[in-house]
């Protein structure tokens, strides 16, 4: 049993990271009832932007760049964690302007549109930063490892899980404790009611899309030191994200969080027995759950079913 502990813990950490990745995806599906397949590319974009901001060659004039590199890495990392999602948010605005034409239409339009957007974004990343793997520098204090229960643990993983937990908490507060949350929830089921409340629905949608984009980018930065940075990393993120949303049930916050933890644990624990095949476990989990509960664990009836 004790042998399983590291796998359980790793699974839990992975679960939190997956929840972080899925958050923005969930908000957008919930309000717009459109699947954002570009989510993964925005996730990758966040990581690359952070790389540009912290990395050895910032996109600045030489003097400024030298000055910037004088700033301690801890500060640079911290600033990147805030600035990169904001920059990605601008891209999010552009995507939302395209996406607008799909609202209320067959969700397939959104899926196809964002698939195209994902291709474009991924290609831009590839052209700008090349196809090779990059490493996102992190502050000394967060890197390295420690020994616990006779095992070596990576320090950063726990920082990352902590940041994921904080982001999850903040999104929960936004949804449950603010008037915006009420509108977002109402908008998902009843856009007429939102209009009746005097809310500007198109602004609300834009806001939520940008927030979703920023969350994706933030997740990209948090996860980058663990997974590495490469153009293809978006697909590694968007597939679990959609899987978690379907598994948890569309429109359910806790469904998504619990599904993330389940997927994390499934991958972590199956990694103990068959590390080669551990990725398969999340798909099998999805197929198993969806076969018995068509709308996922906590799903309500959704427009997406038709």
């Amino acid at each position: 049993m004790f042998d399983l502990l590291p796998h359980l813990l790793n699974g839990l950490v992975l679960g939190l990271l997956l929840a972080l990745i899925a958050l923005g995806f969930m908000l957008i599906v919930g309000l717009m009832e459109q699947i954002n397949l570009a989510h993964g590319s925005l996730f990758a974009l966040g990581a690359y932007l952070a790389l540009a901001l912290t990395g050895p060659k910032p996109p600045l004039p030489a003097d400024l760049a030298a000055l910037w590199l004088q700033v301690p890495i801890g500060w640079r990392y911290g600033i990147a964690l805030i600035v990169a999602p904001c920059l990605a948010g601008i891209v999010g605005i552009a995507v939302e302007f395209c996406m607008r034409r799909t609202y209320g239409k067959d969700p397939l339009y959104g899926l196809l549109l964002t698939f195209g957007v994902a291709l474009v974004l991924e290609e831009i990343l590839r052209l700008t930063w090349g196809t090779r793997d990059h490493v996102l520098p992190i502050p000394q204090s967060m890197s390295g490892g420690f020994i616990f229960a006779d095992l070596i643990w990576s320090t950063y993983r726990f920082y990352a899980a902590g940041m994921a937990a904080i982001a999850i908490g903040l999104v929960w507060l936004l949804i449950e404790k603010t008037p915006y949350g009420a509108m977002i929830k109402a908008g998902a089921h009843d856009s007429e009611m939102v209009r009746a409340l005097g809310v500007n629905l198109s602004k609300l949608r834009l806001g939520v899309f940008v927030l979703g984009t920023m969350l994706a980018a933030f997740a990209g930065i948090v996860v980058a030191p663990i997974w590495g940075i490469r153009p293809h990393m978006g697909v590694d993120a968007v597939v679990p994200a959609f899987l978690i949303i379907v598994l948890g049930g569309i429109g359910s916050f806790w469904g998504a969080v619990i599904a993330s933890l389940l997927v994390g644990l499934a991958v972590g624990v199956s990694g103990a027995y068959a590390s080669e095949w551990s990725l398969l476990s999340m798909y099998l989990l999805l197929v198993a759950v969806i076969s018995f509960r068509a709308r996922g664990l906590f799903g309500k009836k959704s427009v997406l079913e038709v």
Binding site: I35, L108, F115, G116, V246, Y283, L304
Partner: protein, 339 residues
């Protein structure tokens, strides 16, 4: 796709024209600066796209994991050749059956679904097949792929052709393409095809007319997967190898894009047009810039936004406008469902 006289024919003028034009390809392809192998690719991918469109365009079932069936067929072609019999017909049958079997397996889980859930579940199954192909080294060769697949001689009983040469291979796949086109054309214009189209337009109504919608959907998933697997088998033979990447999400997305760009939602030939445009653009633009995906992706986004009916659909619309200019102004509707 409303009933016209050509729907009833086994072989239509369009088919003959297409075959004739395609048959001349090896004569001029090098002269226009294209690599001759592209012809083989176009024909094989056209079979794949037509098979795929049986789901998307005909039945309105958006599969985003179709690469799985294509890939299963590719591996099956190689494995049949290595382990059962080095005979082209046996190997192709192996690809077809493996595709059908994979389709049945997946179909049992998804045939009661539609729309976005269908799409999402096909992504999940596509990833499952892809993961297996990457990880199951002993069978698939993992990332290294299944190598040394032979272009087996085409044995017709009395005579036997060698197709190791690209031109010979091209004429072989073209002949196969011709047969597949005839079969699929007949299928979409048969009562069965009409019911699939009815299911696309309204599943609820079709069920209330007494049709077992689930069984129709399952059967068309199996058919589409079988033809996709068959195309995959041809592809493995042409490439002399099978790799996992034909099964990944991006590749599965490409077949959706090609089909849509060509106009698979409104036209039988749409997928073929899409494949031709895509592969030629890949070679031409790809030769000039390595950012070709950027241009194709942008074009696709614009297409989804403004012309979801694709090239064939737009051509139809222009033709209708042209015709109605002289006649009384007919009511035109550019509304096309997405699938």
């Amino acid at each position: 796709m409303t009933g016209t006289s050509s729907d009833a024919r086994l072989i239509t003028p369009t088919m003959l024209g297409t075959w004739l034009v395609l048959a001349t390809v090896p004569l001029w392809i090098s002269a226009v600066g294209l690599y001759p192998y592209i012809g083989v690719e176009i024909v094989i991918w056209s079979i794949y796209a037509l098979a795929f469109n049986l789901l998307l365009g005909t039945s309105g079932l958006p599969s985003f994991g179709h690469g799985a069936f294509f890939g299963v067929g590719a591996y099956a072609f190689g494995l049949t050749q290595f382990n059962i019999a080095a005979n082209i017909w046996v190997s192709l049958a192996g690809a077809l059956l493996a595709g059908a079997f994979a389709g049945l397996l997946v179909g049992l889980f998804i045939a009661h679904r539609r729309g976005i859930y269908f799409a999402l579940m096909t992504i999940a199954f596509g990833q499952i097949f892809w993961t297996i192909s990457v990880k199951w080294h002993s069978v698939t060769g993992g990332e290294d792929g299944l190598l040394n697949i032979a272009r087996l001689p085409v044995n017709l009983g009395v005579v036997s052709f060698d197709i190791t040469d690209n031109d010979a291979l091209y004429y072989f796949v073209l002949a196969v393409f011709a047969v597949v086109v005839v079969l699929l054309w007949r299928l979409v214009n048969s009562p069965y095809g009409r019911i699939l189209s009815a299911i696309r337009q309204s599943e609820v109504r079709t069920a209330h007319l007494g049709y077992n919608v689930w069984l129709y959907k399952l059967s068309v998933i199996v058919l589409s997967a079988a033809f996709s697997g068959f195309a995959g088998g041809l592809f493995a033979m042409a490439q002399r190898s099978a790799f996992p990447d034909v099964m990944n999400l991006a590749q599965s997305g490409l077949i959706v894009m090609m089909t849509l760009v060509g106009g698979g939602l409104v036209s039988f030939w749409g997928p073929v047009i899409g494949v031709i445009v895509f592969l030629i653009a890949r070679d031409v633009i790809g030769a000039a810039t390595n950012a070709w995906m950027l241009y194709f992706g942008t074009m696709f986004v614009l297409l989804v936004l403004f012309r979801p009916e694709g090239i064939a659909g737009t051509a139809k619309l222009i033709a209708e406008r042209w015709r109605s200019r002289s006649a009384t102004p007919a009511v035109l509707s550019s509304e096309t469902r997405s699938g």
